[in-house]
Subunit: 381 residues, 4 copies
């Protein structure tokens, strides 16, 4: 086996669900190990997480700044850092590591503003760093299959895109929010101008962009703040016009009773339609004109080679969220290894979502908020 | 048995699918019989249809005007006329019969303009006539169940409404349209300003209004004309704001490959959600907050009495389109019999969609076109 | 229009669900009218039903014997009689009409014994009568499509057949049965030796035979009588061996909580699989080896001509139980008209289930009971 | 963190899918690490796998015998060995480790004969070893929920059990089998008397036993060998009678076109029904008498505490096969830690499938073969 890569993490301390999933995904791949982290601002909590992961206590930090400085000074630098903090920390944390020549995998939304995102992109390039934005749902095997089907021209020129992402988890949270007890996602100073639109809306935007390559020309967006405790948007409705004539509608909600995490995207072309539902990620519905709809199953022999590369267990044996993350990391570590081996790396070609996709997501949700604030009018991207 | 009511039909000659369904629906109920018609402008075709239905050849006409005059002069007047012509004939035909004191069941969209609709409403009132607009999908048992669930407050105050109605039948038709061979739905002089938005969009609008009672405050709508042969809109996307704070999105399409007739409406309240899918009309999905989603089945003992009234065959034995129409006619003939018996008739109370709902539909699709023509901007209802 | 055929009915009085469905089905077709009946042994109830149907009071009878005699003596004999009585009356009633030269449409199970069935077959032939057994679920468009797919060899030689038909309606009934209050289905003297196995099991057996042509070689069957009030079988499990090497399993139940009327049949061949679910009768799932499963939709252009013949409303507009019955009657009246016109009639070729299929069903359920009574051992057909 | 446990593996070399899944599952839990293995009889292949896992080359063996001897002699003995060899090696390999005082996690079917299984049970007890049989599908969160629902009496006394497990993967393999190229599953000397019945049938048998506690009293079983290259059963149909009066049917197949890995089990009680489908393992359908069916979603607040203990990612974020394995290992390592800490360990109480369940599975499939060989007659368990 090639030697394992080394990585660190910022965020992901006790109680942080997403940090644990990132780490589990890397373990699934078994090609890298975590060696340092700033898991929490609390020394005690951070050390507890570090100890649980078997990390040298010397490499458990209480701030990304401290960590970037210390780790950047080592000869055996980590190959990358994963950033899973509240949104407002993405920019300064990523900047700190990039400036130390350390590549970054960062949660979405990438930053609070496009300017921050562009800044990170520039710094990464100047420092020869790679940058992956962990838009989870592009990691599914059937997302890769969908992308390849579109690229192969099987559904023809795209006419419409319908994306939705309803959840209902916020309902209970809403009722417990007080001035003194506010999750970071409900605090604009930590999460940015958008809540559902940034957290969920960008997943739709990215999945569509990743699979179709379509670029949004303009949009009109309405944001709702339902519930007593609501501060930021928890329901988002947008009309989209893409360059080239396609149109679409995006909806996301955190107060849609009966929906867990129901990302669903339908792409309609002149020759066919594909439908992806995250909660049924092992399948893809493909309808070609004049033919009965077909249900593609992950792992089947008829899939494209591009999708097959990511299959871990045989068809009918479900994969899920962790595998989606793992596939993104599999792409990212492949690029990191090539870079390490001195090969030229074109980040577009590895499959993971690039920093440009991160920037596009930030632009998207800010434009949604702009539109809403102006009365849900059309705004150009 | 009470004596059967008598009715006539305008439109519905050879090859006209919807006229045949109306007649089949009335036969299912077995409480009325067809006795006259102006099925076609072609004498031959009209007589052929009349003969097939066992109608006295003397009562087969070639125009609604002729028919209204002749039938209006009879002592044994028909109890109602069903109008299933191209859209532009709805107004003059309905007017002609109402002026003869004959009640009307008319296909949707009711008229080309709101003014025409208001005019019909006035004339109906002046002549003591009843008026039913045959919005099919309100006739399903589970539509009635949905309405009752909302009325009972089970899902609480409504926050969002998501309506969609994709089809793909137009694709083949589009390619065969020429100047000389144009179906009436593709000819603005016959169909009106809107195509998909009028034909399908009004079904969404009406179903939501019928079930929830919500009133649209304003909307922003984009219309697409895809395909070479396209003249009128075949893809419609609208943002909706309702009076009282609820919001929604409506989408309908005639070029959505893989979708047959997929009307689907989801209504999200503060306490629960209901989901109705026309193609699975024997079921209703009901999700209450904090509980697993439940699948209600038509005919089950736990349904409301209001819905049970319409059940024809036991649970698990599917009902379909024809039963939906039949339920609307069942409501309408109940009102007609009450009128005949001299009772006071409040049309709102019988369950069938009223002329006001027809007018609202005309207003809706015209506002959609207005919005689109102005750049998909927000317009007030 | 060709003149309407005339028919009568035995059974189907007030409260009898299935008689009403037969009549509604004939009305849907609009090619025949009911003119006489022995709807009930109660003069009052029978006359009430007759009056509701607009039948001449002179032609309302209180017994099939009286009706067969009176109607058989008329010059304008009815074209057929529909028999929807308790099972034990099928034989004597059908016999009485056949002996008058009147064709018969009879509910299943055809008779209590194979001998009775063979007797009816002989009498029908001797009297030049046609005989249709109304196995409902063969009437669905997608049953016809399934049959054609098998006949076309698309799924290859059949290896396995899995049939199931769970319901739960009996649960409530079971608790109300007393010696004095017993539905006929719970009384062996009226229903015969089998309950679920005869009422539901024969539907599986017939559907499979109808679609595949397979003949059962032997079977082993277990019958359960669950619940306090249970007298006859309400849960049936059978292993099947077909001539030619295919095998299968049939299960039916009347106490399977959560299932309404869930007939589901899967036929596995060397090249493909078809799956039909009665509650979703507008669809057929077809899986060919090495390809993604496909969902065929009733009314689509890619269906076989044999299936398309029966399509009434466009794809996506659901048909249901009544249409299935109507399709069987459509086949039957086509044969009756040919007979009337003096043409040679091969009943196999019209599509409706023949008396031989009725006899096969009686043989099937009696063999199931034989097997069970001997300890669920294998018995030859 | 508590120190990680250490384990080894027998089998699971290059190309062996299931060994890799076991290792991934342990990595997901992150509470144990692999330190030795006999991955292949080929020194080269075994060392390759060991190197890929970062295992000390000294602890890479070419036989379980060598490995058991060497590892058994170490002071820092491994905490357990995972055995994922062809079936015929389970017994000797497990025996060798148990005799060294090393606990065992063994794939199913446990052994070729009941005697072997009983022998292992005895040896394990004598040596103070724990023994887990990795029946995957009991590891799913919703399997645990199902078990708890049954234990809580929510569905009442069980009446029927319907289990099925169709696959179609064997079709391609069948055509490539020759005398010289035969997978171990097609070679009775390596796989035992049964193929599908042992590999898949035992999954049904165990899942039902695990969830319901029901004991099989007798069964009648037919085995089919379809296809030219077929040697052992690839289609299995069984009637089951349980102690206490419940009955059931089990079907499994490896030649059921269109089915990937479709384990589906329905348990019908006097008060309700539960339905579990492995390919949709994040859900459980629960139907209570007189109520609409409900869809339980993994991770929801309304689940039982017993199930919630195993939830890894929030509701709507799919878990899959690897998590199911990981849950079984989570139970097993909990027991191993308790044993290590000197606590009394009752293996029944930890949640993982015990050696007794393994023995029951071996008894089951051997009785199935017995029944088949005698003409599919009833045999007592």
């Amino acid at each position: 086996m090639a030697e394992k890569l080394k990585y660190g993490m910022v965020g992901g301390g006790p109680g942080a669900f997403i940090g644990a999933v990132h780490r589990a995904a890397v373990r699934l791949n078994d090609d890298a190990e975590i060696v340092c982290g700033a898991f929490s601002r609390s020394k005690e909590k951070g050390d507890e997480t570090a100890a649980g992961l078997g990390i040298d206590p010397q490499r458990s930090y209480t701030s990304f700044a401290e960590m970037a400085k210390a780790e950047g000074a080592r000869e055996d630098k980590i190959d990358w850092v994963t950033i899973v903090t509240p949104n407002n920390q993405h920019y300064p944390a990523a900047k700190a590591f990039l400036e130390q020549g350390i590549s970054v995998a960062c949660d979405k939304p990438l930053t609070l503003t496009v300017e921050e995102g562009e800044d990170l992109k520039r710094i990464a390039q100047e420092n020869g760093c790679l940058f992956c934005v962990t838009y989870t749902y592009t990691g599914h095997v059937m997302a890769r299959e969908a992308r390849q089907i579109v690229r192969n021209g099987e559904i023809g020129k795209i006419r419409m895109v319908m994306g939705e992402y309803p959840q209902d988890w916020l309902l209970d949270t809403l009722e417990t929010i007080t001035e003194d007890n506010k999750p970071w996602r409900a605090d604009p100073s930590l999460s940015g101008r958008g809540a559902a639109v940034a957290d969920l809306g960008t997943h739709i935007e990215n999945w569509v962009a990743y699979v179709t390559g379509l670029k949004i020309e303009k949009l009109a967006c309405n944001l709702d703040v339902f519930g007593e405790g609501g501060v930021l948007d928890n329901n988002v409705e947008a009309l989209i016009k893409f360059q080239g004539g396609a149109t679409g509608m995006y909806w996301t909600s955190q107060v849609a009773i009966g929906f867990d995490n129901a990302l669903k995207i339908r792409i309609f072309g002149e020759k066919g339609t594909i439908e992806f539902v995250q909660e049924e990620n092992n399948y893809l519905k493909v309808s070609l004109r004049g033919q009965p709809p077909r249900i593609y199953s992950r792992g089947s022999g008829y899939l494209t080679d591009e999708a097959k590369r990511y299959v871990r267990v045989p068809t009918g044996h479900p994969e899920g969220l962790t595998e989606a993350f793992a596939n993104i990391y599999k792409d990212f570590t492949a690029a990191l290894r090539d870079k390490k081996a001195g090969k030229a790396v074109d980040e577009e070609g590895y499959g993971y979502p690039t920093i440009q996709m991160g920037i596009d997501g930030v632009a998207f949700y800010n434009k949604c908020v702009d539109s809403h604030e102006a009365g849900a009018v059309w705004v150009d991207m």
